[in-house]
Symmetry: C2
Subunit: 220 residues, 2 copies
């Protein structure tokens, strides 16, 4: 609420969840303080980048000492907006949709599965990861009941735009698209894409061109 209103670069935002994951681990190990050097090592980046990234959130370190793990963890959660859970609605109960619905890594990290919906009547009613598959017509109701919701598109590419439109119409403001297709949404709806085959193709490129140096991006 009081937060620094400094604009945070996209590149920094993309790294914050990684820092969050590390801070959670450090806190579990009862480590009270961490230096930018150590955080950098754990995140696979350099210390200057860590300090600059964290400085966008505020002045949370102590010179000569480092960062208090619990305090930084709190601030990081605050910055990321993950102080409360964000329920997830998965659209598409095919292989990918069922997998995502079953994937414990979501609920564990604050994104509990609220529902799975599918257009296919044959799939409606079957159970997937603790919940029953519901028809698309229930979407608006499900979103209303769980707001704020993140919509996950796990359908074939050709219907992805249609599904995105329905999600937006139902009141979803954040969408993660796993379908291999371009989806466009109104501004102020947040959208990210994960395309698994695309990642493999990028690997293929670097393998095909690995003569010299920069084949592997050392992060990850």
């Amino acid at each position: 609420m009081d937060g620094h209103a400094r604009r945070i670069p996209d590149a920094t935002v993309a790294r914050l969840p990684e820092y969050l994951r590390i801070l959670v681990e450090l806190a579990e190990q009862r480590i009270g303080t961490v230096s930018s050097e150590r955080l950098a090592e754990l995140a696979g980046v350099n210390a200057a980048k860590v300090r600059k990234d964290l400085s966008y959130l505020g002045t949370y370190g102590t010179r000569g000492v480092g960062y208090d793990v619990d305090y930084l963890l709190f601030q990081m959660r605050q910055a990321l907006g993950v102080t409360q859970d964000w329920p997830v609605v998965v659209v598409g109960a095919g292989n990918l949709g069922r997998a995502l619905a079953n994937y414990a890594g979501f609920s564990d990290r604050g994104f509990p599965l609220a529902a799975v919906v599918d257009v296919d009547d044959a799939k409606v009613g079957t159970t997937v990861g603790e919940v029953a598959v519901r028809p698309m017509s229930d979407l608006a109701e499900l979103v209303r009941a769980n707001q704020p919701v993140i919509g996950v598109i796990a359908t074939p590419g050709p219907v992805a735009q249609l599904v995105a439109d329905q999600l937006v119409a139902a009141g979803v403001t954040a969408i993660l698209n796993f379908a291999p297709a371009l989806v466009s949404v109104p501004p102020n709806i947040s959208l990210r894409k994960v395309d698994l085959a695309l990642e493999l193709q990028i690997l293929s490129f670097y393998q095909s061109h690995r003569e010299s140096g920069s084949a592997s991006r050392s992060w990850a």
Copy 2:
């Protein structure tokens, strides 16, 4: 083989698979020629970027006309190294591993599933997406038999580094890591990471901060 030896920026490499997907669609629709403008629209970027990206691959366009779809498609496949299939070995037969193994989008786009391996004897022998789960001890043999192979890590975070080491020892030179953990590999091994929860957290950030403008990165 003859290819331009111009160094291709990482940002460009990351967009090439998207262009590839679009070119495949255009070719299926029997569209013979495409302009940078049209390609840009389909990829959700601007035309200058498309032209610059394609210019790194070579001079494949015709001024006043545009790009020949089939020819550009051929060159794009060449550049990405996806003229032959790349078999994939999935490590981890949990929810995520099984999902990835079943995901048709892989085989469809030139990454057939070669094998699934797991440490858990209870899972070994069960069938997942056309193949039987094999023990970790078979890894080296499986890799040898299918070279070149892409290794996919679909295990819990804490064992990801161990698995990566085993993949590298087995002769895998490209790894896609789905485990929420930092993995490091020797240089000249290509490594990419996909962390599903991390993507949701990035969405959470932009939702929490959506007052003005750039909440959604319009790509995707």
